[in-house]
């Protein structure tokens, strides 16, 4: 039976899995349909780095054989997905979005892809990204080997970075979910700009073995999906101890939101200034409505603000010190000049100016920062804040931000601190975050983020499930 119904491209993992098990279509048919769609539409968004059709069909045949025998490996069994092109995959180029690495081929898959393979998920393609995950500080969305990530909601807009292709592909129904990476905002930003639900896990929860290193103490991998439930299911499959990742926390995640504390016991922190000072009046109303929706859940509310720290400079110094070491050979050989974005080239070269003293000072300030953020969570269990204060910017314009951050962070403007700098602050602390679509400003999606203590992802998931059971923003999709 062929896959004829276009609605399958927008189903969640659980919905698609149920239809596979009901034998409405085979996994091979489903995989072919997704591969066709990916290859046909992804170039419109510059979302595809490499199609893995042949390998995907081979995997789908294995899944069909399993299903015939009544074997169901996991909720992800037979589900087509895509992965950011910084994850190693054998026998095909893994470009890291950058020309100097266009010919790079690894002989083993990244740990996260191996785990998903074991769970029966079907990898259909590697998805584009900002070159080197934007580690040098890019100024233009064009900073990618595949071209600027274009937003399926409006192709004149950027899809966000650095997991650009992952954002576009899931938003356009070209993959049921994708794996992205975040050093400082690279999962949350494209998810918010493209209207996805995505989870940045606690640092160390998901192995980065086989993933491009940008900053060893900041890099994280996580799911970019269509629903909170999907994020939980994917995180369960990819989390866990890995001796091949020195940053591995040795912990696993089990999808069990039903066992979290009662909402009435949860203390949710928010900063009124985050919501009052949004630059766009179009964005203010939908984000305020999202905040009000959480206020009806019966949780306790408390006004908070981030401790006073120079988050941007600390993040830039830590990232720069580590990226300068990771890419030292690229920089000193001159091959760095092959990158697409001149700001990125200059940023990477400037990292060689960072001394051991500079780096250690930043890491010492980071220690103090972590301690203060830990104290902040004595009084609250969860923080809520707009994921980004604006919708996606134009794809053809400079991003107008300071260099030396993997993704844009909050501008250093005056006024109350609030939680505006949650992206650099919580990435430096290693805390998990969940972003969900919560409305539109014009035709473009907005996102709201929940943040919690390390290894407390189920609390985010429980609150997110409740929110998505009462709203339908996550079910909306662009016309493709």
């Amino acid at each position: 039976m062929p896959v004829a119904d276009e609605s399958i491209f927008w189903l969640t993992i659980a919905e698609l899995s149920a239809r596979l098990r009901a034998k409405e279509f085979s996994c091979v048919e489903l995989t072919r349909a997704f591969c066709d769609r990916l290859e046909r539409h992804a170039p419109r968004y510059n979302a595809l780095a490499v199609s893995l059709r042949e390998d995907a069909i081979r995997k789908a045949r294995e899944v069909d054989n399993d299903l015939k025998r009544g074997r169901h490996r996991s909720p992800l069994h037979g589900i087509p997905y895509g992965a950011k092109d910084l994850l190693a995959y054998p026998n095909h180029p893994t470009t890291w979005g950058a020309k100097p690495y266009a010919g790079q081929v690894f002989d083993a898959p990244a740990a996260v892809l191996r785990k998903l393979d074991g769970a029966g998920a079907v990898l259909t393609g590697k998805l584009s990204m900002v070159e080197l995950a934007g580690g040098g500080g890019y100024l233009y969305p064009t900073a990618s080997l595949q071209g600027p990530g274009l937003n399926p909601w409006d192709t004149a807009k950027w899809s966000g970075g650095s997991s650009s292709g992952s954002g576009s592909a899931v938003a356009a129904g070209l993959a049921t979910f994708a794996i992205g990476s975040e050093t400082s905002g690279s999962i949350l930003t494209p998810a918010a700009f493209c209207g996805l639900t995505a989870l940045r896990p606690t640092y160390g929860l998901v192995s980065r073995a086989g993933a491009m290193a940008l900053s060893w103490t900041l890099d994280k991998l996580g799911p970019m999906c269509r629903s909170v439930e999907d994020c939980g299911l994917v995180l369960q499959a990819i989390s866990g101890k890995d001796g091949d990742d020195p940053g591995s926390a040795g912990k696993s995640y089990y999808y069990a939101p039903q066992f979290t504390r009662k909402f009435s016991d949860l203390r949710v922190g928010y900063a009124p200034s985050d919501w009052d000072s949004l630059p766009s009046s179009d964005a203010r109303a939908p984000l305020q409505t999202a905040l009000d929706a959480f206020k009806t859940m019966g949780v306790q509310w408390k006004e908070v603000e981030l401790p006073a720290f120079p988050y941007g400079p600390v993040l830039s110094m830590v990232l720069g010190g580590e990226a300068g070491s990771v890419f030292e050979e690229l920089i000193t050989s001159g091959k760095v000049d092959e990158l697409a974005d001149k700001n990125q080239i200059a940023g990477l070269k400037s990292y060689l100016d960072i001394s051991a003293r500079d780096y250690l000072r930043a890491m010492r300030v980071r220690s103090l920062m972590q301690a203060e953020i830990r104290k902040m969570f004595y009084d609250v269990d969860v923080l809520i804040t707009p994921t980004r204060s604006t919708t996606a910017p134009a794809a053809s314009e400079p991003l107008r931000r300071a260099p030396a951050a993997a993704a844009p962070s909050a501008p250093p403007n005056a006024g109350p601190r609030g939680l505006r700098e949650h992206i650099p602050a919580m990435n430096l602390a290693g805390y998990p975050a969940l972003t969900m679509p919560c409305g539109f400003a014009g035709a473009l999606p907005l996102g709201v983020s929940l943040i919690t203590r390390p290894f407390n992802e189920n609390t985010l998931i429980a609150l997110g499930l409740s929110y998505q059971s009462n709203t339908d923003w996550h079910k909306r999709h662009p016309k493709v």
Binding site: N46, V50, L150, A249, P313
Partner: protein, 69 residues
């Protein structure tokens, strides 16, 4: 990591790689590389100065073996 020769790479790219579409041209009128490098180095220096202004007790150890707290 293994390397591929040019023929293998061409085959792989032709088989499945995406071609950039639309808006993919290089940004026009970017400042020269030397100017950008000077600005980037200036940013590193500014970050260094900011961190040196931040009070740091002598006993503070770096988050060198980083763990989420």
């Amino acid at each position: 990591m293994v390397r591929v020769n040019r023929r293998q790479l061409t085959g792989a790219l032709l088989a499945g790689a995406a071609v950039p579409q639309g808006n993919a041209q290089s940004p026009a009128a970017q400042p020269a590389g030397d100017q950008l490098l000077a600005e980037a180095k200036g940013q590193v220096a500014a970050n260094r100065a900011t961190l040196h202004r931040f009070p740091l007790p002598m006993s503070t150890e770096p988050a060198s073996a980083f763990k989420a707290s």
